[in-house]
Symmetry: C2
Amino acid sequence: MTRFALNSATTKHWPLPDLVAGCVRAGVDQVGLWREEVAAFGLDKAAALVSDAGLAVTSLCRGGFFADPGWEDDNRRAIDEAAALGAPVLVLVSGGLSEGSRDLDGARAHVGDAIGRLVPHAQAAGVKLAIEPLHPMFAADRCVVSTLGQALDLAAPHPVDAVGVVVDTYHLWWDDQVWAQIERAGRQRRIACFQVADWVTPLPAGVLLGRGLPGDGCVDNRRFRRAVDAAGYTGPVEVEVFSAEVWARPGDEVLDAALRGYRETVEG
Amino acid sequence: MTRFALNSATTKHWPLPDLVAGCVRAGVDQVGLWREEVAAFGLDKAAALVSDAGLAVTSLCRGGFFADPGWEDDNRRAIDEAAALGAPVLVLVSGGLSEGSRDLDGARAHVGDAIGRLVPHAQAAGVKLAIEPLHPMFAADRCVVSTLGQALDLAAPHPVDAVGVVVDTYHLWWDDQVWAQIERAGRQRRIACFQVADWVTPLPAGVLLGRGLPGDGCVDNRRFRRAVDAAGYTGPVEVEVFSAEVWARPGDEVLDAALRGYRETVEG
């Protein structure tokens, strides 16, 4: 079986039933899902749809945004949703700085405290919280956790069954310390999720929707895949691409392209 | 005297004679210059204009782009231009990956080799080569040197009088290791240039022209200024802002705003 998993963000406008059917047609049996689309479709309906098709849910995106009011209730709901979907992992995008703040250290410390508050609920639900370092270009407004080293530091005080990290090549490819940190993550059994995409330039305004499918940019995704494998990771490889250009294409075509990119530049 | 220096990139469309006159009016006696504008005005004329007005040239931007054909001749010329202007420092923006390459380690190693080739010429000219780490969002297409730690590693094999580093807060503000690296840079006497700007979101397309004047964003510029001071740096503080919005304003007004931002959020 392939380790490939389709993260539904890659085919943003593909309705969930079509996505599920498309995965089955393509022989893909794992999907990563997003809360908004699951909620729009209905949580229980989505869980049944995916499960009846024989698909596993690899991760749910996303909890986090710990600077927002109401973050704790919202993250508890996210944990419950992951459990309902049978997703072993809830991806945490930790949020940026509070309005007007320049206190990056304080914001990072708050992320650690917030995760600590969620651990008992996550353990009770059997869902692992996966801290995702985002590219430093998102540090102000989306995620103050910018490197794998920081994510591992934040995870360290918490039990391994409750808190892990996400290795996403799009966010980490530039970091010369990432290889040592992947080894560390493996030793500490923290790699909860592995996602791949590619870096293409120029970046669009807002920089969120400028990713490429694996193979379309300059990221050495195979080196990352080999590194997480060498660190003992045996889980799925999620292709997760935010791209206005990719989103404009039919879902089936994008899934084919993602599978091709995966085979040619990630596996092996 | 103020340590404030105006980097001419901040007032991109201000003709050099107006910029010089504006600095004199504002009591600013230090400027950082760019090669393109100096060349357009004429190197010797520019040197005389600035010197006759009693201004010091703090740095010349930029050498580097070591992946480009002809990089060596071009960098030798840049060193000569810095010497002609009396600029003690040539800022190096090291360039991105070669077309189609995914070999970031190789590109970084090439930067080190290239700088080594330039050292004798820089020493003979009395110009220090200052390696500037750029924000990781520029790693693919503008500068493969992304952290102060990497810049110091690249500088390490070379004599202190010939090779230093640039500390630019816009590029480094997100990095939790930057404080330790600034201390290291001080111990190793490598801080050749200190530049400040601010981080504002959303980033524009291409991400080059989205900086803010000091005080307009989320960078703790005062913490950086204190850190470089504590590391033994006593040189100028260049305000260097690339911003389409700032560039649309009159030069005098921008200089006033930059000085105000400097006084309120950088010095002290």
